[in-house]
Amino acid sequence: MSRPGFVLDVDRSTPPLLFWHGEKFRMERLPAGSRVVYPPEPVKALDDPDAAIRDALLNPIGDSAPLPALLEPGMRLTICFDDISLPLPPMRRPDVRQRVIEAVLDLAADAGVDDVVLIAALALHRRMTEAELRHALGDRVYDAFAPSGQLTQLDAEDPEAMMHLGTTDRGEDVEISKRAATSDLVVYVNINLVAMDGGHKSVATGLASYRSLKHHHNVATMLKSRSFMDQHHSELHSSNWRMGRHIAASGIKVFQIETTLNTDTFPEQFSFLQRREWEWGAKDRATFLGVSRSLDRTPARLARSIFQGIKSPHRMASVQAGEVEAVHKLTTENLYRQQLVEVQGQTDVLMMGLPYISPYNVNSIMNPILVACLGLGYFFNLYRGKPLVREGGVLILRHPTPWAFHPVHHPSYIDFFEEVLAETTDPLKIEADFEERFATDPWYIHLYRTSYAYHGVHPFYMWYWCAHAMAHLGAVIVVGGDVKAVRRMGFKPASTLQDALEMASDVVGRDPSITYLHAPPLLMADVK
């Protein structure tokens, strides 16, 4: 039985605590009285994941027949899967997608289904490289489907590849992959790392075009999603659910397969990351010192390469298949069980150490916009009930925030940072004044379709993801970041955590309550 999450009250005996700082680590001594929210320990993994997958396919949840009953010769079968943005970090082989897809393909072969196409559900993300696809799907699947063109990646800018299915009762356009929309069965293979993932969002977002996405990937939706990790209080989910139900009503049959992974996130050489500091043994301390000092002397590019090479040992903790909503309900319960930590009350100052990776810089550079999105978007929204930090409070992030961009993956991010943020950081103004031009820019579209670039509109979505936090917070302070980059985003730079706390006192007073969200490994605060 793994230990649950835990809130530590810092006192004089509390040792310095580990903060992520991009590709580095920092030890910080927090003021007495501060709280530290630790993640639960990893839940037990499935002993036999392949058997569990097969069992899920044969014994579906909700209003769905077992998968074999849905398969028949002559049918069109489309298998969609989550892209490179999941899981984080990428997991050791075999990836959970490989396990699930191989199981689905075995059943399809048994049923005599010939017309099978695999689609990487990119939405507006960058395309995956061959190596990334091989890692996710395994060589057997790749070699069987890629050469014949049956392994594809969604091209949401190809009008021939998309199909408009009408609008929801709220007037939201629903436009998804034509191959999926014209299939007899869509099997969606999900990895649910956080509660935002999965459900109707899989098809309604993962297979959708800009025309469709803009109905929920916008500032108003984000401001009404509190949080977007809590489906029942998330307009992002409400919109996706409307679209998902519209897709179902259009006659498209979706067989949903959702998986959760445990939070055994980092390999043995980073084992100290999985333990609480006061429980570190001699080996943990020695490992930490060795790793930390080496990283401090390692050039940023090499450090990035080392960390991007990490393959996580996390393992499958649950798998459920069948009807979308029933499946997602159970998935969310499983996820909450392993991530929720009960926290009493909000805090004046919330601190986070941000790691080297976010969903959108796998094998890439964590540019400043992604730093903002990880802190103010993803981590800030890791709450249920109410935000961990009070309205008007201060968020302190630790990250080097380099003014650096991956020129192939993030071309429109560079322009967004240079042009848009130089003019305004207000999400609403940005959306009104700039989004359409970036979204329809033929160069970005060309790069998205033919290279490995995120779509031109993607940096806007990253910024919108921050909108709720920006509206809620009194100030955002970034410790140890590139000063110009931090200021460009409208945040305040600080050299040390002490300086940041001093600056925070201008906003929240001299004796604020302080909480440190000790993640990753991931957790979600259940704020009472």
Binding site: I414, E418, E419, R437, D441, P442, W443, H446
Partner: protein, 391 residues
């Protein structure tokens, strides 16, 4: 009278060039320029007047001269020693306040009949700038016979004078000459209302050009490049729809023109690029962001530069020089100064005695949030005029 005198001294010239290559602006300390007591220049003949400067601007070409960075192209068309300063508003003896049009063309040189360019009214293209009654000198401020604005007195010909309207401040009037350069450049660009125009550089000339583009044409979009925050603010204020840092200008033009790119180079680009810098980098940028068969207007004074002209050839780009102006340009320049309130570009005035500080301020004006630095010659005793002599 006091005057800043630029003398022919090869050794000082060499030292200034060396020093300025390390620290721009240091030519003022070690170069051929010095503050001297000199006689006011003699009137070269009929139609000439003594002009007592009120304000005299410091131009980029002046700074290049002081730093010994000017092209050797100018050697046969200047005469030493000369008093720099060609952006001048001053008083005539009859009390008229005038702006100097510094070009020393056929009329000023008493050449009859005038050369074909002057006959067409294109004084800036005069073919006789080293001939006639004056020693060589393309402009006042580079001619040994006329003196220049960085002094208590110079001489000016009728053909060089433009009366300042009532109510126009000296600060506005001293901006008329650079404004005339900008007006002339916009004319050379032949901008249409469907054009995207890029203005590279946001010093005095760049900002005047942005203002002139908006005053004289109605292009679809104006994009400016500016290094410093104050320059960005001013460029926006003068009507640039987008302002990008020099390192960002290629991407900015790509975005605004919807161009594609190949290996970092635009496939399309802006219809017109007006280069108000004239450096190797700015010329390369200009050729990189102009569309095929587009126009690059070179307004900033270039020196010897190493630029790959392959795009000019392969994309059939029109490269147009823009130097000075026509006599008639000044009427439009007065209008532009008034309507765009260009006097706001005058950031600091210095007495002649503080010339080193003034030049240092001018060299680092952008970084220090300034644009136009000028000498204020309104204080102190007025020099005595010499008797009329003829050459």
């Amino acid at each position: 009278m006091k005057a800043l005198l630029f003398e022919r001294s090869l050794s000082r010239f060499a030292v200034a060039r060396l020093a300025s290559s390390v620290a721009p602006g240091s030519g003022a300390r070690v170069g051929p320029l010095r503050l001297a007591d000199v006689e006011p220049p003699a009137l070269p003949g009929p139609g000439w007047h003594q002009l007592r400067p009120r304000l005299a601007g410091i131009c980029g070409s002046d700074l290049a001269t002081v730093d010994a960075r000017s092209s050797r192209w100018f050697e046969p068309i200047v005469s030493f020693p000369f008093v720099p300063g060609h952006e001048v508003v001053g008083d005539l003896e009859d009390g008229r306040r005038v702006v100097l049009e510094p070009v020393l063309a056929c009329a000023a040189r008493d050449i009859v009949p005038p050369c074909p360019a002057c006959a067409r009214g294109e004084n800036g293209s005069c073919e006789r700038i080293a001939f006639g009654c004056l020693q060589p000198g393309l402009q006042t401020g580079y001619c040994a016979d006329t003196g220049g604005g960085w002094s208590g007195s110079l001489v000016a010909h009728d053909s060089q004078l433009h009366t300042v309207p009532e109510g126009m401040s000296d600060e506005a009037a001293v901006m008329v000459e650079p404004a005339a350069c900008a007006v002339h450049a916009v004319g050379a660009a032949a901008i249409t209302d469907t054009d995207t125009v890029v203005v590279l550089g946001a010093g005095t000339l760049g900002l005047c050009t942005v203002a002139a583009v908006r005053h004289l044409a109605e292009p679809r979009a104006v994009i400016a490049s500016a290094k410093h925050p104050e320059q960005r603010r001013l460029a926006t204020g003068f009507g640039a729809g987008a302002v990008a840092a020099p390192s960002e200008v290629r991407r900015a033009v790509r975005r605004h023109t919807g161009s594609l790119a190949v290996d970092g180079r635009l496939t399309g680009g802006a219809d017109v690029v007006i280069d108000c810098v004239g450096s190797e980098a700015s010329l390369a940028d200009a050729l990189a962001v102009v569309r095929p068969r587009g126009t690059v207007v070179l307004v900033g004074m270039p020196g010897p530069v190493n630029v790959d002209l392959t795009p000019l050839w392969q994309r059939e780009i029109r490269l147009v020089g823009s130097y000075a102006y026509r006599h008639t340009t000044f009427a439009t320049a007065f209008e532009l100064v008034a309507s765009a309130q260009l006097e706001r570009l005058v950031s600091a005035l210095y007495p002649l005695e503080e010339w080193r500080t003034a030049l240092d301020h001018a060299v680092h004006s952008g970084r220090r949030g300034a644009v136009k630095i000028a000498f204020d010659l309104r204080q102190g005793p007025r020099p005595t005029r010499k008797a009329v002599t003829t050459h």
